[in-house]
Amino acid sequence: MKTLQNNKKYIISLIISIAIALLIGAILMAVSGFSPIEGYGAMIDGAIGSPRLLGNTIEKSMELCLLGLATAIGAKGGLFNVGGEGQLFVGALFSTMIGLWLSDLPTFLVIIIAVIVSIVTGGIYALIPALLKTKLNVDEVITTIMLNTVAIKVCTYFVNGPWNSPLKSISQGTDYIDKSIVFSKIIQGSNLSTSFFIGTVVTVFMWFLMKKTTVGLEINVTGENKRFSFFSGLKANKLMVTSMIISGAICGLVGMMLIYGYQGHMTQSASNEYYFDGMLVAMIMNYNPIGIIIMSFFFGFMATGATMMDMQVGISVQLYDVIFSIIIFLMAAQTGIMVWLENRKTQKKAKQLAEEKAKGLVEETAGKEAE
């Protein structure tokens, strides 16, 4: 919880960062012989130019938002969950298999079970690093990264091995789940399905949890200062584990929504590092839920738009990654930018001083104690 003033400055420096990133993007386009206006035009067109594209944009934004919130809740509890990708895979795999195994049950029941299974498996998979951290103080960043690899490799093995589809036409991945249990489309032909409503519910829930509840407050305090949390009588370890389970559960659920929303079956490429994009959105927005929701739409828009830009104008989709990275880079330097905003006046003076220095009037000193 920052002061109002800080929030304002943060937003200003964010807007500056985005503007700079888009500008650099434009320069890159120009240098590679494209018209930036045409390029960004194609991007906008590609993101909202048709109902189908708009649907894809909204779906992508929802994914980013959920995964961003997953990162945020872990981070608020003091655990940096880098393992969302693995938790997503686990959730996706098991919910797919539920759909295949229980295809005789009534539709709504299968979906409910699949949702629960994805939440539980994703949560359990996040529980492992959480326990390693709280019981044995093993760094969660390292364990979650390793568990990502494990999950993806194991899923790859299962979808191409024991659970591989016998049908020749789909040699990659499992069988398709029955059409009747797939979420129906909100916009035909797009990726946007009724899973959007689940996503909305989860988003609102997360915002409420983080901003309006006792548990959210307690998780927050624990993440800020664990000793203080323990001292205050909170179950610090339990809160940390809880925050991580919630994080994993959301990731698992997103896995389920990918399959039941538009992919239809489990493959080794069910997610293409989607979690990391969500994680970056969360980091850019300082783990603020409202900020994450808004920023997800921006990046969802860019991501979908960039694909079309590639197809229509020929500007590589990688440009999106470049812009994304520049914003991240600038945000990482945001303290610097904030100071810069504050001290533009003193900058001038510093220049004068530098000149004096050159004349040897001021002694050289290392300036490491600026903290």
Binding site: N225, S232, A366
Partner: protein, 515 residues
């Protein structure tokens, strides 16, 4: 005195933080070779002003002139190059580094310009130690030495960087009386022999009288006045600070002690390094009674309190609180039995620096029906009002309850802790260093709160490095030396002079058998 040259000039300094005018048009001079004391209420802007001199803050307006030259760029490296050194209210050492490494940090001696020269650093430290007579072991790890020694390291660090003006921000708040005396000797020596200038901030007015040549008083960001120390006394200073008379007189007490609320039997506790800190401690505190522990820092009193409050698992022995065996309970369970706790170290234990004041005040109560529906949905406006009320009652100075605790002045941070813990309405109160870094006015108020708790039938266990505080508040006093109880006295039964024998173990041989 008058003919001394001016070394530092503050000219119309103002410093605006979001919502707080921390310095308001402050102007005065510091003269070369003097000890200048700066006093004022919590949040008066003392640290802010010194941070400006040290280049951490850039003033919103006004200028600082050091050695006749105006400061153009405010940065610590600039200040250091002008001979300014500062020891902060909260130390800034690297605990896992050795003394020598800390002292030479960022100005390390190098071999062939690249390799860190540890031997060189140790030699340099040794040389400083010799030169200034500030004895520390250059090879010791900072985390393993006492607070008093850590402070020496901080001072040596500034000397190593060539400081000739030394700023000490509340250096004595964490020191024992003996350590304070040693520090004052050091100050006198460096001023006399090295012609250094010292600016010292403190809330203990007798220290102002003991060490300073001149004293400046601040109130609500403004400079109230600068005086020759010999022209003032503690009373005058106190009323200049607070704007009214401060009467540190007897606090009214009533009621008789009732049943035992805290009972500690044969308690053995180890410290962070696994060395025995409490070696078989027994004590009892009854309702309506304040038991004070008089001990020199590092004799096991901190570990004792941590064990009682559940922050540290004892090795053996038992603890009964409110007639329950709480030896193996965690702080949450213990608090539920009716205990509240003002911890020794507010920064690491007592607050969440990044959270706002509201959160810090309500934590621990957030699940009660008053503050949340079904223990889940926070009643934000009730909580906000509650925080506002405590903020007013404890006279906290800062931008408001929505700001982060980390932006508060040291004393105001302490008020947040005290306000929260005293409002729990718990029958048992464990207090460590309750008024560390708070001003005289606030000290009076906090003391009254603690005695009120006792008068209401609370059992209070108090540890303080400030003997005056122990004597003022306690009904009974025990002394602890090297993890053992060395004496027990009723209030008024013993003098401060005599009790120090028990605190330093001089009598422990005679009394050893009985305890």
């Amino acid at each position: 005195m008058e003919n001394k040259e001016t070394i530092i000039e503050f000219k119309n300094i103002s410093m605006q933080f979001p919502g707080v005018l921390a310095n308001d048009n402050v102007s005065f001079d510091i003269k070369k070779g003097e000890v200048f004391a700066l006093v004022g209420e919590n949040g008066a802007g003392k640290s802010t002003l010194m941070n400006i001199l040290y280049g951490i803050n850039t003033p919103t307006s006004g200028e600082v002139i050091i050695g006749g030259k105006k400061v153009e760029k405010y940065s610590p490296s600039e200040a250091i190059s002008r001979g300014i050194g500062m020891v902060h209210q909260h130390f800034m050492l690297v605990p896992s580094f050795t003394v020598a490494q800390n002292i030479c940090l960022s100005h390390e001696p190098r071999k062939s310009k690249i390799f860190y020269d540890l031997k060189g650093a140790e030699a340099a430290t040794e040389k400083l130690v010799q030169e200034y007579g500030l004895v520390v072991d250059p090879k010791a790890k900072v985390e393993s030495i006492s607070v008093g020694l850590q402070q020496r390291v901080e001072i040596l660090k500034t000397l190593y960087r060539g400081a000739d003006v030394l700023i000490l921000d509340e250096p004595t708040a964490v020191l024992t009386p003996q350590e304070t005396e040693e520090l004052f000797n050091v100050i006198r020596r460096i001023v006399k022999e090295k012609d250094m200038t010292v600016i010292i901030i403190t809330h203990k007015l007798y220290e102002v009288m003991a060490i300073s040549d001149r004293v400046g008083v601040m109130r609500q960001g403004k400079l109230v006045g600068v005086n020759e120390t010999k022209d003032v006394n503690e009373k005058i200073l106190a009323s200049m600070m607070v704007g009214r008379e401060v009467l540190l007189d007897e606090i009214e007490r009533f009621g008789e002690p009732g049943e035992t609320k805290i009972e500690v039997e044969d308690l053995v506790v180890t410290d962070n390094r696994g060395i025995i800190a409490c070696n078989g401690i027994n004590l009892k505190v009854r309702e309506g009674e304040i038991l004070g522990i008089a001990a020199i820092e590092g004799n096991g009193q901190s570990e004792l309190l941590e064990a009682i409050t559940g922050m540290r698992k004892p090795v053996s022995g038992t603890i009964f609180l409110n007639n329950h065996d709480t030896t193996d309970m965690d702080p949450g369970q213990i608090r539920e039995l009716g205990l509240s706790h003002i911890p020794e170290d507010r920064m690491t234990t007592g607050v969440s620096l990044q959270s706002d004041i509201t959160t810090n005040l309500v934590i621990g109560k957030e699940r009660t029906p008053h503050f949340s529906k079904w223990g889940i949905a926070l009643k934000k406006s009730t909580i906000h009002r509650y925080a506002e009320d405590l903020f007013q009652r404890f006279d906290m100075r800062g931008a408001g309850v929505d700001t982060v605790v980390g932006s508060l002045s040291g004393g105001n941070m302490q008020k947040v802790v005290v306000a929260r813990e005293l409002s729990f309405d718990a029958p048992i109160l464990i207090v460590a260093q309750p008024t560390r870094g708070v001003d005289v006015g606030a000290m009076e108020f906090i003391h009254k709160c603690i005695v009120d708790k006792r008068n209401d039938g609370g059992a209070v266990l108090l540890v303080s490095a400030d003997l005056d505080e122990v004597f003022r508040l306690s009904d009974r006093i025990i002394t602890i030396y090297e993890g053992k109880v060395t004496g027990e006295f009723k209030a008024g039964e013993i003098s401060k002079m005599d009790i120090s024998y028990y605190m330093t173990g001089d009598r422990s041989n005679e009394e050893g058998g009985t305890n």
